[in-house]
C-alpha cells in the first residue's frame, strides 16, 4: 500500500485462460462505465430477454440450472417458481451484504461491473413479474454504492430502467438501499426485516419462505449479487452455452476468494464443479502454493461457517455434493488457508468471536452459547484453560447443534468423515457457525488444545497451605 489512496482500484482479482461468465470486463479500467458496457455487448441480454415471453426467459434460467451463490446453492430458476400464483405485487431484493468471513467477490462485481448486475436484475424482474427491485448493499462499501448509483442514474437515462423499458410494456424501478453494519442481515429474512426499517433479525422459517411471504408480506425473490450477474450471459448465449461450462451438478463458473497463507491470494473465476482444492491452492494459474513453501495444515473450504478440511481433502473438487459428503460445504466460495505455523486454537478464536459478536440475540443457544464458546476459547488461548473447558466446549456445542457434527476424515487421526449438514436449535446459521470452526479445530487438532490447557483442578491435588 502507498498512502496515495487508490480508491478506484479494487485489487485482488486475477484473470486466467479460462471461460469467463461474470468477469469478462474486469480487464478494462473503465469496466464500470456505461460506455464500456455498451462496447462489450452490454444490455444485449436484456434486449433478447424482452423479445422472449417472461415464461420463456424463466425456462431458460431454469434450464441453465444456475445455482444460488449466496451460500445455500439453491437453483435460481426453481426458487423463482415458488412465487404463489396471482399474488401481487412481487419484489426482487438483491443481497449485496457480503460479509461472511473470507468472502470477497460480490463487492468486486458491484464495483467493477455494476451494469452487469443491473442487467441481471432487469432480466429477473421481467421473467418473474417483479415490479420493484431493491439493491441492498452492505453499508461499509462506499465505492460499490457510488459505482451502482452512477450506473443506475445512467441506466435510467438510457431507458433501461423505469417506465416502458426500451419501448416495451415492461416497467420497473431499481432502488439502491444502504445497510449499516450487521452480518446477520445477509440472511434473507433478516435482509427483508432490515429493508422494512426494522432491526435485522431473521424470521422463523418454515412455514413461510420469502418467495411466498417476503417484503411487506408479499412474494419476494432474494438473490445474491453473483447469481444475478450470471443472467446477462444466460440471456445472451442461452442456457446450453452456460451448461457447457462446468459439470452437470455445478454448471457455469464460480467466483472464489482464496486468502490466508498462500503465495498469491486472490479472487478467481473458476470452472464450476471440476476444479479441485489442490488446483486452487497449488496451481500455477491460481494461488501457486503455500507461502515460504511451508506445509499446508488445514483450510476452510467455504467461508467462516464451514467445517475445516485437511491436506487429506485436497483432491476433492469444488463441488457442493462432494464437499458435503466429505464433511463440509462450499458456502459463499471462500477458501482460507492455514500453513504449518498456524496456531489452530487462535485461528478458530477469530471465527468463533466473529459469530458470537454477530449474534442478533433472538435465540438463546446462539446468544448465550456463542458467547460462552468465545469466552471459553479465549480463556484457553490466554493460557488459563483447563481440560474441563474442552469438555465444556462440546457440551455447549451440543446445545446449539445436537447430535453428530460434520467433520472431515483424517488419516493421521484415523477419523472417518461425518457428512454435512448438522441439526440445529437456532433460527438461523449464526449460532451453529460459532461452533462449527471450533468443533473442527478441536476434532482435527486435539493436541493443540491439550497443549494449552492445564489439568482440571478436579483431577489434580491442590494442597492446603497456610495462606488458604
Amino acid at each position: 500500500m502507498s498512502t496515495a489512496i487508490t480508491r478506484d482500484y479494487t485489487p485482488g482479482f486475477y484473470e486466467g485462460d479460462r471461460p469467463k461468465v461474470v468477469t469478462s470486463r474486469f480487464e478494462y479500467e473503465d469496466s464500470h462505465t456505461l460506455e464500456r458496457y455498451h462496447a462489450t455487448n452490454g444490455y444485449e441480454g436484456l434486449r433478447k430477454c424482452l423479445a422472449m415471453t417472461p415464461a420463456q426467459m424463466h425456462d431458460e434460467v431454469r434450464a441453465s440450472t444456475v445455482l444460488g451463490r449466496g451460500g445455500a446453492g439453491f437453483p435460481a430458476g426453481v426458487k423463482w417458481g415458488f412465487t404463489p400464483k396471482d399474488v401481487w405485487p412481487r419484489y426482487l431484493v438483491v443481497n449485496g451484504d457480503e460479509s461472511e468471513p473470507g468472502t470477497y467477490k460480490d463487492r468486486l462485481l458491484m464495483e467493477r461491473d455494476p451494469h452487469q448486475l443491473i442487467e441481471g436484475c432487469l432480466i429477473a424482474c421481467y421473467a418473474v413479474g417483479l415490479s420493484h427491485c431493491f439493491l441492498y448493499v452492505r453499508g461499509e462499501m462506499p465505492l460499490a454504492h457510488e459505482r451502482l448509483a452512477t450506473a443506475l442514474n445512467d441506466a435510467y437515462d438510457a431507458g433501461y430502467i423505469g417506465k416502458n423499458v426500451l419501448g416495451t410494456d415492461f416497467s420497473v424501478d431499481i432502488t439502491l438501499h444502504w445497510g449499516a453494519g450487521a452480518y446477520v442481515v445477509g440472511e434473507e429474512t433478516a435482509l427483508i426485516e432490515s429493508l422494512e426499517g426494522e432491526r435485522g433479525m431473521p424470521r422463523l422459517k418454515p412455514p413461510f419462505f420469502p418467495a411466498a411471504i417476503g417484503l411487506y408480506g408479499k412474494p419476494t425473490i432474494v438473490n445474491n449479487v453473483e447469481t444475478l450477474a450470471n443472467l446477462p450471459f444466460i440471456a445472451n448465449e442461452g442456457s446450453a452455452a452456460y451448461t457447457a461450462i462446468g459439470t452437470e451438478t455445478s454448471p457455469g463458473t464460480r467466483m472464489i476468494a482464496i486468502s490466508g497463507h498462500v503465495k498469491r491470494p486472490g479472487v478467481y473465476e473458476i470452472i464450476n464443479g471440476s476444479t479441485t482444492f489442490r488446483d486452487i491452492i497449488y496451481g500455477d494459474e491460481f494461488c501457486q502454493g503455500i507461502r515460504d513453501d511451508n506445509e499446508l495444515k488445514a483450510f476452510v473450504p467455504g467461508g467462516g461457517s464451514a467445517p475445516w478440511f485437511l491436506p487429506d481433502q485436497l483432491d476433492i473438487p469444488f463441488e457442493g455434493r462432494e464437499a458435503g459428503s466429505a464433511g463440509s460445504m462450499l458456502g459463499s466460495g471462500a477458501v482460507m488457508v492455514m500453513d504449518s505455523t498456524t496456531d489452530i486454537p487462535k485461528a478458530a478464536l477469530t471465527l468463533t468471536r466473529f459469530y458470537a459478536h454477530e449474534s442478533c440475540g433472538k435465540c438463546v443457544p446462539c446468544r448465550e452459547g456463542g458467547t460462552w464458546l468465545y469466552r471459553i476459547l479465549e480463556r484457553i488461548c490466554d493460557g488459563h484453560g483447563t481440560t474441563d473447558d474442552l469438555d465444556q466446549i462440546l457440551e455447549v456445542g451440543q446445545s446449539i447443534c445436537p447430535g453428530e457434527m460434520p467433520h472431515a476424515a483424517s488419516e493421521r487421526l484415523g477419523l472417518e468423515a461425518t457428512p454435512f449438514p448438522y441439526k440445529m436449535t437456532t433460527i438461523c446459521f449464526v449460532g451453529p457457525s460459532a461452533y462449527a470452526p471450533l468443533h473442527s479445530a478441536l476434532t482435527l487438532f486435539p493436541e493443540e488444545f491439550e497443549a494449552k490447557v492445564a489439568p482440571s483442578p478436579k483431577r489434580t491435588k491442590i494442597p492446603v497451605t497456610a495462606a488458604s
Binding site: 415471453t53 448509483a149 491470494p265
Partner: protein, 207 residues
C-alpha cells in the same frame, strides 16, 4: 439543534418516496443524519420519526441494531482494523497493537484532539488483501506498520482530505430521482399482475 437541514429534509422526502412503505427509508435517513452531524443525534432521530411517521422509540430501536450508527461524537477519522481470520492469519493483531501505540489510545476510544477513533472490526470483504483496514469505511489493503504510520501522518496533515471525507459521509454520489421512474406504489394498491405478465397469461400456460 441537530434536526435535518432544509436541503437534507428535501433529500429525505425524495428517499422516502422511493419505498412502498416509508419506514423502509429509516436506515438511509439515519445515514443522512450521520453525514450531517458526524453521528446520530437524539434530535435527528426525533426528526426522522416525524418524517417517516413512526415513534422516536422505533427509530432508536432500529438504529441501535446497526454498528455503523454512532450515538456520540467520534473522531473525524474512524479507523477500523479487521481482526477476522484471513487478516488475523497475516498480522492483524500486530497491526492493531501498532496502531494503539502510534495513536496512544486503546481500541474503542478517541484521541484528545478528536481526530481519530480506533476500533476492532470484523471481515471487510477484502480478505485476499489482508491485513486490511478501513478509514471512514474506505478500504486500505495489505497494510504494513509503516503504511499505517504514513497513513496516520497524512490524515493528520490533511493530505488525504479529498480522498476521505469526515466520518458520516458514506457516498458522494447518490441515486437521483428520475423523471421516468415508475414510482413506488403503496403495497395494497397493487392487486393485479403487471401488464407484461398478464398479456401473455391468456396465451400461455403458467410456468
Amino acid at each position: 439543534m441537530s434536526r435535518l437541514s432544509d436541503s437534507n429534509v428535501q433529500l429525505a422526502h425524495e428517499i422516502i418516496a422511493r419505498y412502498p412503505k416509508p419506514k423502509s427509508a429509516l436506515i438511509p435517513l439515519l445515514h443522512l443524519s450521520q453525514e450531517q452531524n458526524g453521528y446520530v443525534t437524539q434530535d435527528a432521530m426525533r426528526h426522522i420519526a416525524e418524517l417517516v411517521g413512526v415513534t422516536p422509540a422505533e427509530v432508536i430501536g432500529t438504529a441501535t441494531f446497526y454498528e455503523m450508527f454512532k450515538f456520540e461524537p467520534v473522531g473525524t477519522y474512524l479507523i477500523n482494523i479487521c481482526g477476522t481470520m484471513s487478516c488475523a492469519l497475516l498480522g492483524a493483531e500486530e497491526l492493531m497493537h501498532h496502531a494503539e501505540q502510534k495513536l496512544g489510545i486503546r481500541a474503542g476510544s478517541t484521541t484528545d484532539d478528536g481526530m481519530f477513533t480506533l476500533e476492532h472490526a470484523e471481515c471487510q470483504a477484502a480478505c485476499t488483501e489482508a491485513p486490511c483496514l478501513q478509514v471512514n469505511y474506505r478500504h486500505q489493503y495489505r497494510v504494513s506498520t509503516q503504511d499505517l504510520d504514513a497513513m496516520i501522518d497524512d490524515l493528520r496533515s490533511g493530505a488525504l482530505r479529498d480522498e476521505i471525507p469526515a466520518h458520516g459521509t458514506l457516498t458522494r454520489i447518490r441515486q437521483r430521482t428520475h423523471p421516468n421512474e415508475v414510482g413506488a406504489v403503496p403495497v395494497d394498491e397493487v392487486t393485479e399482475a403487471p401488464v407484461w405478465i398478464s398479456k401473455h397469461e391468456a396465451t400461455e400456460a403458467p410456468a
